[in-house]
Assembly symmetry: C2
Homo-oligomer: 309 residues x 2
Amino acid sequence: MIDRLVEKIKQTEAPIVVGLDPQLNFIPEQILAKSYREFGETLEGAADALFAFNKEIIDATSDLIPAVKPQIAMYERYGIPGLIAFEKTVSYCREKGLVVIGDVKRGDIGSTSAAYADAHLGTVKVGNNTIAPFGEDFATVNPYLGTDGVKPFVDVCKSHDRGIFVLVKTSNPSSGEFQDRLIDGKPLYEWVGEKVNEWGADTIGASGYSDVGAVVGATYPEMGKVLRELMPKAYILVPGYGAQGGQGKDLVHFFNPDGLGAIVNSSRGIIAAWKKEEYAKFGAEAFGAAARAAVLDMKEDIREAIASA
Amino acid sequence: MIDRLVEKIKQTEAPIVVGLDPQLNFIPEQILAKSYREFGETLEGAADALFAFNKEIIDATSDLIPAVKPQIAMYERYGIPGLIAFEKTVSYCREKGLVVIGDVKRGDIGSTSAAYADAHLGTVKVGNNTIAPFGEDFATVNPYLGTDGVKPFVDVCKSHDRGIFVLVKTSNPSSGEFQDRLIDGKPLYEWVGEKVNEWGADTIGASGYSDVGAVVGATYPEMGKVLRELMPKAYILVPGYGAQGGQGKDLVHFFNPDGLGAIVNSSRGIIAAWKKEEYAKFGAEAFGAAARAAVLDMKEDIREAIASA
């Protein structure tokens, strides 16, 4: 699956993933009003608005980008109807040819991790039928439980040509509380990074990259530099650009000299662009066009940063 | 919420939680056949069987136990219909007066963790309505992202009288890969345990325990002993009894001298008891009665272990 992502990144010349993390306050009034009219101020109403909003963002940006990353928490928040909107979002993005990274941060042990892996990346058997429940291409995975927790995901990556991104160094302010602590002179995130290499060792594709990638926050560029070198085969999914404070120049070290090796996520910087002064001229009606403009600006910001590195 | 759990444990004299982690191969043929007849060999069929199975287990055991712990992965595996079965299981257990611990192991950052906390423990606003999406009493939480990831759950515990159990030392064989590594001479799980104290410091109930508890595996009794002393106010949720190898005598150190402070989970040891030689006499038809017998045996095993400690 990593080869398909790399191919799409080359095609679009955009190492960019749009985070589909909708919140109701990002959604223009005309969409909310329509959904509430049809379904009431209910979970169904909220979920209908989430999907309608996503659809317009996707329609406006899908030719520019290789991938999207729906954050499942933003859908799970609205219960079953919300999760139906997640599922519809995944399907719609796949129809549009986008690579879908399910930001699910699941992680458990043995048969339980296998159940999550089946749900998001694989298939389940029911009687004589084989069914793919959610059908993402990639999922994010939490490593705290160790190899037992991650291995079932890697197995499904192999059997179903899928990929994962393991949390190594997250973008949030308190990520250092545990992740930065020194163990035999090396921070925990480096130990996790070494495991990422091990877990992905026999999933290297024709692109030279592994189906087992890593999450490393844009907000920690110096650590990104170290981790880039430590995990040469791992694609790095980089959250924290834009709203969380990461800038183009911070991203340079996440990439390899060939301009590959990293894909940068922006969520509210794109999907809620219409609410920012910079893109206010588009207005609430044209929030999709605002998102498109924000994608183009982000693409240029990253291109310039890489070029001047 | 911890006070309610402690009250129920005293009432039932059973520091036991039944793990509702159904797999299709635990479910007797008569239930599967009925569900497939009605819904086909589909996700809906599988989900219907999961709920019908749970219902019979709950009916057979709910007077003996204080709490259940549905593992959401086992439902998520069957997509949206599976998650509907999860939701129905949570509701049914609450109707029966059981405390419901959603074993969801969620954890993310800031507004994303807040979304998970709203989904499982809190409420969401849609227009003028306030709705509780899944409605568990407790949830399990992964600490790898640090305070940013856990704090939003603690906030919802306070505003909605709910509780969490934070993964400290998990029961699986490779949990030591990261959790046991020494940081300034102390294993990571102790550092996490200290944070559990901090996170829970202002959620101490009348019982003397905190709404912020900890998960510590029965398979590591010596570490349990250390963690019991390190986190005096934290209730410990203990997985790994039974199928994973933990025994009554291993559990002694997880309890305080008053017999409180820990609640021990058994999943397949109870719900799939009918498939074990020991309870085979009940037969597939009476799988609920087999589960009841297994609960009574587990209760006695733990009682004896505590008494002889």
